[in-house]
Symmetry: C2
Subunit: 282 residues, 2 copies
């Protein structure tokens, strides 16, 4: 086997396992997705705190991972929500107190960077839990992942085939406007297609007219592909500014967890807002 082929094979297998795990988690008891996403969020938080350490930030890795875990857990397990989120708040408040006792030059850099993954990683995964378990909108959440993967994959393929005009060379040199447009077209197309699949039909609006429902799904596709691409760029900016190529190496051939969820992390809050807004408009 040539090394290129071997690398492609590794990439494909680990990518397929990842997709199978995420899709599968929607069709088994939600405890499975809870365990899976808590694990993903914890690894991503660890990666963030590990990377900023290279720039002199003193991170509280145990506390940071614990905060993310408790926060996401609160989103999935309703019974422990208040308790889990209360602990997150107390742990956040403990960070400036700990900094009082650690003689550092710039304690507020440490505080600010230790809070950031709670917002960037903890909140989106928690919103996934709230969407799935508390709002019973698991179909919408699964659709979000499908649209993100569609947009990503077709942007990559489209860009490789037709890419000419660089989109953001400074931050992500391979992205092209052609890829962006093709990814967007497919994301919107698949979104409209999903609106006719019985499983997804009522995921955004319950018993809406076909026209309105198709428009709602089209909008969903648009929101996902625009905010997902921005999330991807933001994470590239993060890695580039700290001089790392991948956020980690947990997924063979795919880099780290933060790389894998970059578009999700930014798209998730926008989708939540979009879902609420269309329900109000409707």
């Amino acid at each position: 086997m040539s090394p290129q082929f071997k690398s492609l094979l590794t990439r494909t297998i680990s990518g397929a396992v990842f997709v199978a795990l995420v899709v599968g988690s929607f069709f088994v008891p939600s405890y499975f997705q809870f365990a899976l996403f808590v694990f993903f969020a914890a690894v991503a938080t660890y990666e963030y705190l590990h990377i900023v350490e290279t720039d002199g930030i003193r991170s509280h890795k145990v506390l940071g991972v614990l905060m993310t875990v408790l926060m996401v857990e609160g989103g999935y397990i309703r019974q422990s929500m208040s308790f889990g989120w209360l602990l997150v708040v107390l742990l956040m408040l403990s960070i400036p107190v700990i900094e009082l006792f650690r003689k550092g030059e710039k304690p507020f850099n440490n505080i600010a960077h230790n809070f950031l993954p709670v917002l960037w990683i903890g909140v989106p995964f928690t919103l996934a839990g709230v969407t799935n378990v508390m709002l019973f909108q698991e179909e919408a959440l699964l659709a979000l992942f499908i649209l993100l993967w569609t947009s990503d994959t077709f942007a990559y393929c489209g860009g490789s085939l037709f890419g000419k005009h660089k989109m953001f060379e400074r931050i992500s040199p391979k992205k092209t406007w052609e890829g962006f447009a093709i990814g967007g077209l497919f994301a919107c197309g698949v979104a409209v297609g999903l609106s006719f699949v019985p499983y997804f039909h009522n995921a955004l609006l319950y018993e809406a007219s076909t026209t309105f429902n198709v428009l709602a799904w089209l909008g969903f596709g648009l929101v996902v592909f625009v905010t997902g691409t921005l999330g991807d760029l933001i994470e590239s900016m993060f890695k580039r500014s700290y001089g790392v190529k991948d956020s980690g190496n947990i997924m063979p051939g795919h880099g780290g967890m933060l790389d894998r969820f970059d578009s999700f992390l930014f798209a998730m809050p926008f989708c939540m807002i979009y879902w609420v807004l269309i329900t109000f408009i409707y």
Copy 2:
């Protein structure tokens, strides 16, 4: 007039005006406190963003102040809560996108430091609004301020008279354990005293037995003086690490707004948690 006397006079007058404004705001329609606290929070946020700029952070002052203002406004004006807080979320999400287009070396330092005042300043003032206007607990909130001032004043006087053992010389060289203890004693004493004042009697628990009520107020005094002192130290650490003496000069003789609210900013979330917990225990 000697300069010392003049400075003391200025300090006393501006301090008295400040106390009169805050106390008065509890006895006029709540719109007044809303306007006052939004102003305080906006100035404190501006001070934070201004100070971190001296260390190479590129702050988004207009966005930062706007986020705090909208957040606090959501806490005071129930009708616009959802809309105000939605805008806060969208503005927060816009910061990493803006950073994509600003060619900076460390965009994530800017993002992290622009989020921090939302948590450090925006959240406590918002909790004040929620306590006052949504939970109708204005007596508890006023008591919190009275206890903070008691603890501060007696810690200062007690420390000046009897202070021997330095508490945290590296961060706040004037604080002594003697001052801390005396401030704490008075805070707890005043807290117990307040429990017998008709206006405050039912502020923590409604119609509780005298023993339990006195204990609840004693605990309140303890929480306020410990977390208030920590808040003071945390803000001193902030100023010291950026080499500034005062956070600003908006209050003649008293420094900036962040200086004036340092203990409140840290004590407020703990008090909120304490109030909820004692209600559950009761």
